[in-house]
Symmetry: C2
Amino acid sequence: MKKKSVNAMEVAKLANVSQSTVSRVFTPGSNVSEKTKEKVMEAASFLGYRPNALARGLIMNKTNMVGLAMREIQNPFYHEVLGKFTKGLREKGYHVLFVYTENDEIQQEEITQFLEYNVEGVIVTDALLSSNVVTQLQESNIPVILFNRYSHELSCHSVSCDNYSAAWQIADYLYEQGCRRLAYITGRKNTSTSQDRQRGFCDYLQAKGVKVIIEEGNYTYEGAYKAALNLLKRNERPEAIFGANDITALGALDAAKSLQLSIPEDVTVVGFDNIEMAAWPANSLTTWEQPVDEMVKITIETLINQINKKQVDAKPKLVSGKLIKRDSTKKSKVVDK
Amino acid sequence: MKKKSVNAMEVAKLANVSQSTVSRVFTPGSNVSEKTKEKVMEAASFLGYRPNALARGLIMNKTNMVGLAMREIQNPFYHEVLGKFTKGLREKGYHVLFVYTENDEIQQEEITQFLEYNVEGVIVTDALLSSNVVTQLQESNIPVILFNRYSHELSCHSVSCDNYSAAWQIADYLYEQGCRRLAYITGRKNTSTSQDRQRGFCDYLQAKGVKVIIEEGNYTYEGAYKAALNLLKRNERPEAIFGANDITALGALDAAKSLQLSIPEDVTVVGFDNIEMAAWPANSLTTWEQPVDEMVKITIETLINQINKKQVDAKPKLVSGKLIKRDSTKKSKVVDK
DNA sequence: CATTACTTTGCATACGTATGCAAAGTGATG
DNA sequence: CATCACTTTGCATACGTATGCAAAGTAATG
């Protein structure tokens, strides 16, 4: 059996006070005299006492836990995201109950776990949830925030990069460089990230009268590699390839290299995310930097506001980011001259 | 305020039974008649009742939570590890309280969290803990397992790849190919992984009368890149470089390429981990595959055994893994002939 | 019907903490 | 010393569940 942990009662006895007093010593903002506080603290540290978070959560109806669900994926971008969430939440006093989800949608099982442990909020990263799951959470008054995904059908908050606008600007950048044959390698087709990036990219170019070739990449290196081979073996080889994310773009980059094409002269490549690998000299990938810090900060703030019932407008929040120019695209014209 | 969640009492009233009966319905192995079970289940699902894991954990002294601490790091290997742990633990009915640690050692704050939430065990990945932290956990009877790290001073279990033997075999492989000028790029010098790999590598070669050049890489791509440049600009350029992990090896690979050296003719590179990126055609890195699935499985089993007080011998557990040969090393002689 | 053996249920209590309320303590003022 | 205002403390109870114990129910047997 597990050894029973020391409780407030034992500390109380040792310090010659009541259990209530011990509790008050560990509750910030309570009225305890300096003298007894010291006495209690001494007894507590002597016994190695720590307040039991479960009992505290039970009575205060506040667990200080947040559920974090993340889709398992090859993309190191989300590893970084996870790190920042964990740190950011802890700074606000929250702990993370973590779950990997293997499917595109969060499953019932994962939500059940969150409900049973009374998490105060849920963050869903790189995945969606079915509407009945959202309903369940809302019935229990547990706010949900989608990170880097959104859905018009679901009435929950979301924070993402303004993928549409970013892709639009990438298209503009490539077009201004003189590219007229352009291709887009998709991510997983049912993700809002991939869809928005495609729409932004195509909308800009369509307005300029340029048609975009689309190939499916599925957000994997292997998929993107094959897709790029298809593209680059065409009669009219594209001059520029925009990959739905950096992993996709790296697949395209390597595919081009495998065909002895030189970058950026023969073909130009742009990615999305600005993962660390993009900066590696061998890749030197031009890409769109998502402002992860800001996105995480906004997500956490929004979540905490909702937890505290400061109702926020349920509109999807968008942040912009910026283009990081590297060697996988040509130097801009002004510099060239 | 958060809406109060439905509790067993309300279900009991609706189903015309006592709260105890409701509890028994949700406790596997309890004696309840089929008829009342149905009645209760109906009422429960009508009200959307779920047992409160906190209250349950409080009274049963069993939270079904495991603390997982991981060092933040560039290495995608640990992202994979995290995924496998989460899945594996859930299969055993455990939930994950997750923490990132920014330092080489787990900090007091992280442990406090684990203690307060009464986790039943702690898994520490890619980091160590100070001995007084181990003491704290042991006093509370919470088992700890180090994953891919060990320490002779700390009396806790550990599971890792047999880094010494693996590095020894890598050295053998390179030596048999005829390499006589060899270099090792280290990881973070105070990690047992990097130390063991260095020792295994050097011990083998020393026995053969070959000296190894050591450069510091710090487990980062950038560090390894610089280290490799130092190595490759020497008068006597090494024929083979062994990187402390795959990220290190990839840094070396790219550094070699940047010097127009061809791989594996001019220089041969070997890594460690077999992350997905190693298989990418542009890298095609020979590397040591850690049997992650097995390592995770053993870790979880050992932990659960300890939780259930089936005392296991506290010896460090080692698993072997195997060499994955790719294009960054020469084909083996037999094939060459 | 009485007895026995067994299953099913309810009562009461326990887990470790927080908090409203009242009692006790402290110090200042007249 | 009496009064008042204020701080500090303890008592009792509540949070939602699990479980030992006894009571009630069921069925079988003589």
